[in-house]
């Protein structure tokens, strides 16, 4: 441990490792909070289960060979509509449920970002191996002096860490949202084109 600190200090951009380390710890803490407030609850488990069942049922119904009789087609369409609206409802409930508990996670992320900002404001934490486009540069060069667009600020590195680490951690732990929910509108569903 004593030999590791001088080793890291010799790197010009050793601060990048600090940012990554803090991001990793934050991701673990956020997932732990999410597990306590969301994933271990019976409401979440039952909503997830009903979404999975409904989306699988919908897939089966849509891929079954269509019947030649008109009456059977109509009743099949009605059944599909019923399953779709139940799926949309469950997805909406799931999103709302996660939204309420997600406020705590958002607070943690906000506090950590504030802490990192105070630690690394104005500091170049890494070097980009490319010149970013204008939109990306606004974040990657945030708070930095000079015109060198390859200088990387904490904000951009933290954003990359957050997205990559949290997404993969959620996937690894099995906390990713069910695929059926993603296609069913979520909290703000679009109007059903069939009824308009």
């Amino acid at each position: 441990m004593a030999t590791a600190i001088p080793l890291f200090a010799s790197f010009k951009y050793a601060d990048s490792l600090t940012v990554v380390g803090i991001s990793l710890c934050t991701a673990l803490v956020c997932e732990a909070i999410s597990w306590i407030l969301i994933y271990r609850t019976s409401s979440y488990k039952s909503l997830k289960s009903s979404i999975d069942k409904a989306s699988k049922k919908l897939e089966t119904m849509k891929t079954d060979n269509p019947s030649s009789k008109l009456t059977n087609k109509k009743s099949k369409t009605k059944k599909i509509d019923r399953v779709e609206s139940s799926l949309k409802e469950s997805s909406r409930d799931l999103s709302l449920f996660k939204f309420k508990s997600g406020a705590v996670v958002a607070l943690v992320l906000f506090v950590v970002f504030g802490l990192l900002n105070s630690l690394f404001e104005g500091k170049v934490v890494a070097k980009l191996p490319f010149h970013p486009i204008t939109i990306v540069r606004k974040m990657s060069h945030r708070g930095l002096k000079g015109d060198d667009s390859t200088d990387c600020s904490m904000a951009f590195l933290y954003l990359l860490c957050s997205i990559s680490i949290r997404t993969n951690l959620q996937k690894f732990l099995g906390f990713s949202p069910p695929r059926g929910a993603a296609g069913a509108g979520g909290l703000f569903p679009m109007p059903d084109p069939k009824t308009n």
Binding site: S16, E59, A126, K127, F130, H131, L160, I163, T167, K171
Partner: protein, 130 residues
């Protein structure tokens, strides 16, 4: 009575261990078996992790050489998508219509792999060459 119960329990446990020992090789075999049946979620997860591994290796490689320039991001996306397409179309030979089409399969894990690639590339480049 107690002895027969514990013997039964031991037997069940042995059967489970036997099954578990066979799970890993059969799962690995399934990854390269064109005749295996795939669930949408299972295939999506496999494609996601393939993208993440490709992203990580590419980032480490691009950063070590180092490869510099925005063109290498485009090349990474092309290589990564090519590997994923080659895997599900040529090795697994799945019908993409059963899984929502090419777009649905190709977008699995795309954004996360891009951010992981950028993170690895930037870190290795910054730490190894300055």
């Amino acid at each position: 009575m107690k002895e027969s119960k514990s013997a039964k329990l031991n037997q069940l446990q042995q059967q489970e261990n036997h099954q578990n020992a066979h799970l890993s090789p059969s799962k690995l075999a399934k990854l390269f078996d064109p005749d295996a049946s795939w669930d949408k979620d299972q295939l999506g997860d496999v494609l996601h992790w393939i993208r993440q591994v490709v992203g990580l290796i590419s980032g480490l490689l691009w950063g070590s050489i180092p490869l510099v320039g925005g063109i290498w991001i485009i090349l990474f996306l092309a290589i990564s998508s090519g590997i994923v397409y080659g895997y599900y179309a040529m090795i697994l030979k799945v019908d993409e219509e059963d899984f929502g089409g090419h777009a649905a399969l190709l977008q699995e894990g795309l954004f996360a792999s891009l951010t992981l690639f950028l993170l690895a590339w930037i870190l290795v480049y910054s730490l190894a060459h300055f």
